[in-house]
Symmetry: D2
Subunit: 143 residues, 4 copies
């Protein structure tokens, strides 16, 4: 799969995200993914505000996370979000790296689908606005 | 202060709420308070749904928590929520007990005020519906 | 796959787990899975305390969640955790149902591996104590 | 009270921290406080690692939060943590500002006490190492 578009976010691991094994509790990673996804959607100019205005909700319907190495207190991590699919649904891939060593720590993906807010129905193709904005961004200035 | 009305909720502490010191991270207690507050507001028949329908938001404007003894993995705790004020604002007190030993573990309070959804303005007296329902519940069948 | 062993947990959805779309934010489901997994591991008598005592950590290395229908405020959900694999790793499947209607809302799985605490090394077979306890439980009284 | 020492942290509010009222759920603020407290303790060179090594735990025994204005999606907030007391306990004050407008949004405080890890006993005076490091930092280079 050719990565279409990428954005990243750097986060320093805080105490409250750790569990008794002194590593980040596995459920907290979805907040890290969310922060990087938000950067990616900002780049496309189709984040939560634009979704709402354009009349669509985009619930997450599928999540996958592969934990390779643990995340530790005060570790500086870089989460990279990459657009994998956009024509029929929004599939984003994630990789978490140690920001100093560039060691790969985690991989994952989320899939979202468009729901029309007025009909509450699932759209089997992505709304034209998303497609337009993604394609405009891809052909735009190199990041 | 005479406790007006009380409700309680029993929760078993899960792994994900613990921090590296093997005790519940202090920020997680507000979820425990929320669960007991919800029981109390159900009793009054003025929970989130009724607040919304009656045209008011009730943001929390003040929180106080006093941590007396730590909460531990798989401990069964009982959170008691007590109505302390309702005429001008909604002040609720909380006590967390070990459900087996009845030892007091935590004390706290939250204060909420009514905001009129159409004007976005703060109400200096509680909306009549809340007052009516609280007073109806207090004079109602003994809990 | 023959379900080996099942346990369940009932939870009422609280306000703090909802997002601006009025449904549970997708990252919170892993707390629901954790609560049901804990019940399952209690049944096997190999929960966090026993893992620690027996000299192993069991980090989660893989998570998959398929969100079928949204979870809503005050909905009473039942999370069923089922043991899917235990000989080489611990794979548990989850189904979340509406507790009143029995409608299926979510499916998922988690995979854990054993790490020897003294060597920090991954065990390619599950420690004998887990295998013994699982097999003892399966052959034990019908649940 | 003379503020002894200050540190700050900038955070952009993410979707997952919002509740159905489109504002940050009140319980999430303690994560924001934690991030700023960590910066402050780094400045003193007495953060979680140093606490552990010096033989003390520092549980939080008291929290107070005053919510002045709501926090909204993608708002860039600055959390300032200020050392208020250190001789007998560690009391830290927090102010959250909108990072663009400098409008004050939230005020709060946390209080921690030292517990000797070998005796599990409360220390009625702060351990000498903390006092030394705080006083060294205050008399050190102006921040």
């Amino acid at each position: 799969m050719i990565p279409l578009l990428t954005a990243s976010q750097v986060i320093v691991i805080q105490f409250n995200d750790l569990d008794p094994m002194n590593v980040v509790w596995h459920g907290n990673y979805l907040r890290y993914f969310e922060a990087a996804r938000s950067e990616l959607l900002n780049k496309v100019n189709y984040n939560y505000g634009e979704m709402q205005e354009s009349g669509y909700m985009w619930p997450i319907v599928d999540v996958h996370i592969k934990y390779i190495r643990p995340l530790r207190l005060h570790q500086r991590i870089r989460i990279e979000a990459t657009l994998l699919e956009y024509e029929n649904r929004l599939k984003i891939g994630y990789k978490i790296y140690d920001d100093q060593t560039n060691q790969l720590l985690t991989k994952g993906s989320t899939t979202q689908v468009a729901i029309n807010q007025s009909t509450s129905e699932l759209e089997f193709r992505s709304p034209p606005l998303l497609i337009e904005r993604v394609e405009g961004t891809i052909q735009g200035p190199i990041q």
